[in-house]
């Protein structure tokens, strides 16, 4: 399993680097604007960075599945000692690891800035947790949309991004509240279940 995850990470190294770069850019913007006390500037820029990150996660999922489908990677791997379920699990775990690894720096920065600015961290702990959970789950749901559409051979990039935008819009509708988090979780699980069915039932 670890070998499969490692292989997925190596195959999608470009996405990891890009997502890491934009994540660090967001961190840098947050630190600079907090230092200069111009937090109103950081909000729109962070929003744009967030959109770029979500697009990256969506394309990561689509790229993983499309590459597999085009090059028949899983068909080859399935002839070895790896089942399709394990291949898919490794792929999803690798994607989730990339998402978490690139979003955790944002969380650490937010907590650090609030601590330095003498903000009431005890009250905003819950807010930070809710916002971070919603952010991670939105990213993961968009990644799942990418996986789904990458496999179903919808090559129109616009369609993939449109569906990812719909997922992001759920958070706009509901806010960073528990119902939104639950819905995102259910949506991700449903996407993965559908993908698992299609991925494991395809003939060699």
């Amino acid at each position: 399993m670890l070998t499969l995850i490692g292989r997925e990470l190596r195959d999608n190294f470009a996405h990891l680097i890009l997502a890491g770069f934009f994540s660090l850019c967001t961190v840098a913007i947050a630190i600079v604007t907090a230092y200069w006390g111009i937090s109103w500037v950081s909000l729109p820029i962070s929003g744009i960075m967030g959109i770029i990150l979500v697009v990256l996660y969506t394309t990561l999922g689509a790229a993983q599945m499309y590459t597999d489908r085009a090059n028949r990677i899983s068909s080859v791997l399935a002839t070895l000692a790896a089942t399709r379920s394990r291949i898919l699990a490794a792929r999803v775990l690798a994607g989730a690891a990339i998402i978490v690894a690139t979003l955790v720096p944002l969380l650490i920065t937010a907590v650090a800035i609030m601590s330095l600015e003498d903000a009431p961290l005890a009250f905003y702990r819950g807010v930070i947790a809710e916002v971070f959970a919603a952010l991670v789950l939105t990213s993961f749901a968009c990644y799942c949309v990418g996986l789904l559409l990458g496999w179903t051979a919808i090559k129109a990039a616009l369609g993939v991004l449109l569906l990812a935008a719909l997922v992001v819009l759920l958070v706009v509708i509901k806010g960073f509240v528990l119902p939104a988090i639950v819905l995102l979780l259910l949506f991700s699980v449903a996407c993965l279940a559908h993908l698992w069915y299609r991925f494991t039932s395809i003939p060699l």
Partner: protein
Amino acid sequence: MKTRRSSALNAVATGFVVLFLTLIVFFWARWGCESARSKLLPEQARKLDIDASSLIMPRTKEEPNGIPCLVHAVMMPEEVPTEGLGVLRYLNAHLPDAPNSPLYAWGVSGDYPRLYYSRSLGMIVYYFRLPVLQADGTYLTRPIPDGTEVVEEEGVAYAGPKGMGDKPDSKLGRFTDPLVRTAARDIAHQIVYDRGLRRFFVIDWHKKIVRQGPPLPGDVAPPVDFGWARKQSKCLNLYTETPEPLLTYGVNPGRTLVLDTAGSIRMLDLDTLEYTGFAGGLPAPATLFPSDRRAKPDDLFAFQVLPVFVNMGKQYVGCAVAVLSRDATAAKLEVFDANGASVAMADTFADVSRAGENGSPARSHSVPTATALYLDLPGEVLTGVKFVLESFHPPALLLASYFTASSIEATAGHRSLFVLPNSFVAMKGRDVRYGPIRRFWTALPFLLPSVLFGVLFGAAVARDARRAGLQGYARRLWVAVTVLVGLPAYITYRVTRPKTARVTCQNCGRWRWVNRETCHHCGSPWLVPELVPPAWRVIGQPEEQPCNDPSPRPEQTISRESEV
């Protein structure tokens, strides 16, 4: 069996994904409609004015008709679509000065005061810099070159229901769910209602005392807000215009207004912390299906209760109450006198031009804003679009909207995906003018198109499923789900229906599945040709007649000619 279970799982998963995405698309289409409608109302139709001079303001020698006082309410429906979105609501709710934030004041960069409710301690904590109060009741001063200045001390105090201390102590008790409002805009003077303890408290940080009121009687609805009670104040503005030095709170308020969950406004005596009388109620705005009953706070998108005090806050003369309907199409302003009697009210009206009967020229009519926004152009077009969108909503969810219409809070309805509390069906569900049966009967025209679409989609699924050869129970299940869920179920069916290879049936000539024993149309089994050798042969010479004679055949002599 495993394959069947996997297929069912796939159908459920796909169904959820499709439902989720479809409902988000529907939501934004409805949001666009609502947003466009909110901009249709002209400026003058958004304002409500009541001259309260002779109604509640005291008469003087100079002003025998009462002190001039105009009460103005302005609805701002264009703010509603944005304010209704969850993300803005979430961010606004977590600002330090948000109405229900546990952070009542927070001086940045170490500044004072800091006042908040500590959930872990169950106490209200106050970091202060206050004048030092001496035993004789005066403040401690110290000389400075220009005179004297009051000495201030920094400290922290913890207030529980049973008292106040410099350190958190279990003897002080615990607040469970406090609603805190600052009295007379003095941060050192708080009025608290604890939802768990069902009591009012007054906290005086100067005197370091906590006063506890008696528990509220069981038959009295719990308070929602007090002081200057309001909800979504960005969408509804209420103010007075008077030369009198009018103070909403007063300099030393002895009483305050309390709005409860039933929509009643009561007067609370801050000395005894008991209700002293009825002060008013929330009026119901003239919506598309108006109600003559009082509204509840949860029924309204926005409201404001403005107490009016005169004589530097010593004399309470009445209050003004403005409300904005759930769908932000109508507002109402009502003025109550000091005894809680309604003295004036006004609804929002808009002028619309309508053609007269028998082809007479169009005349201007004044109609309630809700009617104008829904039934007059261009709102009529938006109403049509809204109706079509609601008709494509899953019928089961639309029916649920009818039954849950009154139980969903008004602002929550603006970010609702599954049930639609602002749909026409739900509006009828809240129509209290009729009994349950007549109400449901009148809601049917709004519900039937959705059901009709469900049936049409169900019929399409049934036809396709029969052609595709789905088994009876699977076909019935798909049809039932499609009738209940409508378009999303139909899309799910199209996405997940079996795609096994099919061949022409040799018996009936229609497509049949290759993985079935029998044809799902005619029930014919596979026609396997018997392996019988044909009666004909292709050879180079005439075929010999079979010889049935059991005697040995004579040896064939080959002539010289045939050898050549």
